[in-house]
C-alpha cells in the first residue's frame, strides 16, 4: 500500500521517542504531525483529520485515556483509527485504551517493521464518509461562471462558442464588451435550439435576445462585417 501523502498524527511527550518515530515514518512518505499533549492532539485532529493516530499510552499519567474519551465524542471519529504505543508495564492502561476505542497497540521499544505494518493494516484505505445533498437543499445550489466567445450576431440572436452545451430554453445573461457597445448590455438572453458541436469540447450555442427593440436591431443591421463568413 502506498503511504505517500497520507498523514499520521503522533501524540507523545517524549522527545527521544518522537525523533525516532519521525525517522521511521518519514522514509515511507507519510506526513507526520505531532502533538505533545492530549489537548493539542484533539485540536489538531479537529483541524486536519489525519488518516491514523499514534498515541503514547503514557502522556503524563492518564492523558492518553483522556484523548480517547474526548475523541469518541466527535462525529464520525471511528474513521480515524488510534494505535497505542505502550510498554510492558502499562497493561492496565492498555486494556482501558482498547476499551475506549483504540484499535491496536505497538510495544515499546518500537520496531520499525511492526510500526509500518500496523499503520498499513489500520490506515483507512476505504471510502471516507461522503456528503449527499437533496434536490431541494438550498445549500447545494451551484453557480457556474463560464466564459465563451460570441462569434456571430444577427438582429435576434448571437452564436456563443463555449465548452458547455446549454439546455434549450435556459435564461441567461451574457456579459460582453461588444454587446455593451452595441447597446445590448441590458437585454436578457435565452438559449435556443441545441448546442452544435464545433471542435474538441466546444459547442456553438444560439442565444436569443429577448425583447430586442427596433432601434437596437437597426444597430446590428448596419454593422459592418469585418470578415467574410
Amino acid at each position: 500500500m502506498d503511504l505517500r501523502g497520507r498523514s499520521v498524527l503522533v501524540i507523545d511527550d517524549d522527545e527521544d521517542l518522537c525523533k525516532l518515530l519521525n525517522k521511521l515514518l518519514a522514509g515511507s512518505g507519510l506526513n507526520v504531525a505531532r502533538a505533545a499533549t492530549a489537548t493539542d492532539g484533539l485540536a489538531m485532529l479537529k483541524q486536519k483529520a489525519p488518516h491514523i493516530v499514534l498515541l503514547d499510552i503514557n502522556l503524563g499519567g492518564e492523558s492518553g485515556l483522556t484523548f480517547l474519551k474526548e475523541k469518541r465524542e466527535l462525529p464520525n471519529s471511528d474513521f480515524i483509527p488510534v494505535v497505542m504505543m505502550s510498554s510492558q508495564t502499562d497493561k492496565r492502561l492498555l486494556s482501558l485504551s482498547l476499551a475506549l476505542g483504540a484499535v491496536d497497540f505497538l510495544a515499546k521499544p518500537i520496531n520499525s517493521q511492526k510500526l509500518l505494518l500496523k499503520i498499513k493494516k489500520h490506515m483507512r484505505d476505504g471510502p471516507f464518509p461522503k456528503a449527499s445533498f437533496a434536490e431541494d437543499d438550498n445549500e447545494a445550489v451551484a453557480d457556474i461562471q463560464c466564459d465563451g466567445k460570441i462569434s456571430h450576431i444577427n438582429e435576434v440572436s448571437c452564436l456563443l462558442n463555449t465548452s458547455s452545451k446549454i439546455k434549450n430554453g435556459t435564461d441567461l445573461k451574457l456579459e460582453s464588451v461588444f454587446l455593451n457597445e452595441m447597446g445590448l448590455g441590458s437585454i436578457s438572453n435565452k438559449a435556443v435550439g441545441f448546442g452544435l458541436y464545433t471542435s474538441s469540447g466546444h459547442f456553438d450555442n444560439e442565444i436569443a435576445f429577448v425583447g430586442i427593440n427596433e432601434e437596437k436591431a437597426k444597430k446590428i443591421r448596419i454593422m459592418k462585417t469585418y470578415v467574410k463568413k
Binding site: 521517542l17 525516532l20 510498554s87 515499546k108
Partner: protein, 99 residues
C-alpha cells in the same frame, strides 16, 4: 568494563547525538534523585529508557532501564544504585558503528 561496539542503522546517525545527550542529562538527574530519595522520578526515567533505548539500537540499555524502573518502584535503594552504575558504564563504554 571494556569498550564495546554496537551496530546501528545509519539512518539514525543524525538523531543519535540528541539521544545520548538526553541520557547524559538523565545521569545527572538520577544522581540528584538518589540523594534526595525521589524514587518516583527514577522510575519514570527507567520507564522511558526501557521504551526508547531498544529503538535506538541499545537493547541492553533498555533492559537496564526496565530493571531500574522496577527497583525504583519498589524503593530498593541498593538495587537502584547498582543499576545506575551499570547504566553509566554502558553509556561511557559504548561505541557506535553505523551500518
Amino acid at each position: 568494563m571494556a569498550k564495546f561496539t554496537i551496530q546501528v542503522d545509519k539512518d539514525l546517525s543524525d538523531i543519535m547525538p540528541g539521544f545520548l545527550n538526553n541520557r547524559a542529562k538523565d545521569i545527572g538527574t538520577i544522581n540528584a534523585n538518589i540523594q534526595s530519595g525521589d524514587f518516583k522520578s527514577i522510575e519514570v526515567i527507567g520507564h522511558k529508557l526501557a521504551g526508547n533505548a531498544g529503538g535506538y539500537g541499545m537493547a541492553e540499555l533498555g533492559l537496564i532501564g526496565k530493571e531500574l524502573e522496577n527497583a525504583a518502584k519498589n524503593h530498593q535503594k541498593s538495587e537502584v544504585e547498582q543499576l545506575f552504575r551499570r547504566m553509566k558504564d554502558y553509556l561511557s563504554n559504548v561505541e557506535i558503528k553505523y551500518v
